[in-house]
């Protein structure tokens, strides 16, 4: 089996063109899934017997929270690949992931707070999930801050890659210590974000939204990656050909 297709992924001009070709294949399915999921979740699904229509924010909150963790993992894997095999494109992927992941984390926090107001009677509850989500936001901000603080791109790549790997080792430890901390101070909250049983009319739109958010992430990642590659290779000769073409 030939590995050339794989090796070409390390070449910036190839990745630049490849990402452009790949983007619509993720963007359109993402739009379809999200529109379908929203329609199913906001129109077709019945109101919850306890929470009424308030539960519908779940269709944005749960996928955002899921993506915030998935993007961090993706970022750490890309960073580790870049660190171990010294692949510049992998570092560019990691750098492109961070703002997307931070945005998903922020969205999860805001929707969680908005959900909390009708359910708990307060915008902010020190719930273990919301608290770990807040810590995750700080991990993203630290990663982006370190990257912004180092002027030399290569050094920024490698230093932030070490931080991402250290962070990914710590994320489960932080999460479980926060859960443990919370269980000491209050009884488990009445409302669970993931219901044990969900009728298909509620579950299917949620799964559609999860799939849609994942596809959306890949599409945005590809667009950001092209921007990142352009910025990094701005002195390379192939950029001139791309821009003049």
């Amino acid at each position: 089996m030939s590995w050339t297709w794989f090796h070409r992924l390390a070449s910036p001009p190839y990745v630049y063109a490849f990402a452009a070709r790949l983007t619509p294949w993720f963007a359109w399915p993402a739009a379809l899934c999200i529109l379908g999921g929203l329609w199913g979740g906001l129109v077709l699904a019945p109101p919850d017997y306890q929470q009424g229509d308030g539960f519908r924010i779940l269709y944005v909150h749960a996928p955002s929270a899921w993506m915030s963790l998935m993007v961090y993992t993706t970022m750490a894997i890309a960073a580790a690949v870049g660190l171990i095999w010294r692949i510049k494109v992998a570092h560019a992927v990691a750098a492109s992931c961070a703002p997307i992941g931070a945005s998903f984390t922020f969205a999860a926090l805001v929707t969680g707070a908005l959900w909390g107001e009708p359910m708990w009677g307060t915008y902010w509850e020190w719930d273990p999930r919301l608290t770990s989500e807040l810590v995750l936001l700080f991990l993203y901000l630290g990663y982006m801050g370190l990257r912004a603080g180092i002027e030399d791109t290569q050094r920024a790549d490698r230093a932030s890659a070490v931080l991402a790997v250290v962070g990914v080792v710590n994320v489960p430890i932080i999460h479980y210590s926060v859960v443990w901390w919370n269980s000491l101070h209050q009884a488990p909250s009445v409302m669970r974000l993931a219901k044990p049983t969900m009728p298909p009319s509620m579950l299917v739109p949620l799964l559609l939204m999860l799939l849609g958010f994942t596809l959306y992430f890949v599409a945005v990642l590809l667009v950001r990656l092209r921007g990142e590659v352009l910025g990094r290779e701005r002195t390379a000769s192939w950029i001139r050909e791309v821009v003049s073409a």
């Binding site: 603080g149 050094r155 931080l163 962070g167 210590s177």
Partner: protein
């Protein structure tokens, strides 16, 4: 490798004032452990020549502890209720402040580069540097913690437990801090960034440490959170020097 032999001699001998150990080490290639031990001795000796630097984190710790009675209330019953939180927040902040001294001087005068080029395991040397830093700031801070606790109305019976928890927890704080300090090495205005990198990773120590302190104040057995603190310390001892040495190498590139 001949570089290893010669570098082992020049490494700590430059500062270790004429003790017998560096002379012996220059005759034969020092093992990783010997080099680490010499680096640790060197850091301790240097620190005792700049005693003012050692006192600053302690003063800061006392200062932060003093803020709470002034901001909340002088009533000991109220202070006792918040004492675990106050102690651990002060401990975390003071250890953060002390991190500034961990690599700064060595990065300035090129010692870190010599370490990296010495042919010795940089991981062991980082471990030694962090161990010295912990001995010089972590242990004194931990010894301050019972005093601060007394001033917050904590019963004397709780003090041994608190001391134990702070000592075990400060190991992890120093090691996590060494990663942050290595990553921000040589950056301008790194103070805020260093805290942004280090504090989220230190949260488990804060949680378990404050829990152990609370249990000690209540007179309850505190073995469970202490064991968790110890587990975190073991994990940090095993992994943090690897990350710190990788970060130092990147910063020196």
């Amino acid at each position: 490798m001949s570089a290893g032999t010669s570098a082992a001699g020049t490494l700590p001998a430059a500062h270790a004032a004429g003790t017998a150990a560096p002379a012996a080490a220059s005759a034969v290639a020092a093992s990783a452990l010997e080099a680490a031990w010499l680096a640790l001795l060197r850091d301790v000796q240097l620190a005792f020549r700049r005693r003012a630097q050692l006192v600053q984190p302690l003063a800061f710790f006392a200062l932060v502890t003093m803020l709470f009675p002034l901001a909340i209330s002088p009533e000991l019953t109220q202070l006792r209720a918040v004492a675990p939180g106050v102690l651990w927040v002060a401990e975390l902040l003071a250890s953060l402040l002390a991190l500034e001294f961990l690599f700064r001087d060595d990065a300035h005068d090129g010692t870190l580069e010599q370490y990296a080029l010495s042919g010795q395991s940089l991981t062991w040397l980082m471990f030694a540097k962090t161990a010295a830093h912990w001995l010089l700031t972590g242990v004194p801070l931990a010894l301050m913690a019972p005093l601060a606790a007394l001033s917050l109305g904590v019963p004397a019976a709780a003090l041994p437990g608190i001391l134990l928890a702070v000592i075990v927890g400060s190991v992890t704080l120093s090691l996590i801090g060494s990663i942050g300090a290595a990553l921000t090495l040589g950056l301008k205005r790194s103070g805020a960034l260093l805290s942004l990198l280090t504090v989220p990773l230190s949260l488990p120590v804060l949680i378990f440490g404050a829990r152990a302190t609370q249990l000690a104040i209540n007179g309850a057995p505190l073995l469970a959170p202490l064991e968790l603190l110890a587990a975190l310390a073991v994990l940090a001892v095993t992994l943090a020097p690897l990350a710190a040495s990788a970060a130092v190498r990147i910063s020196l590139e």
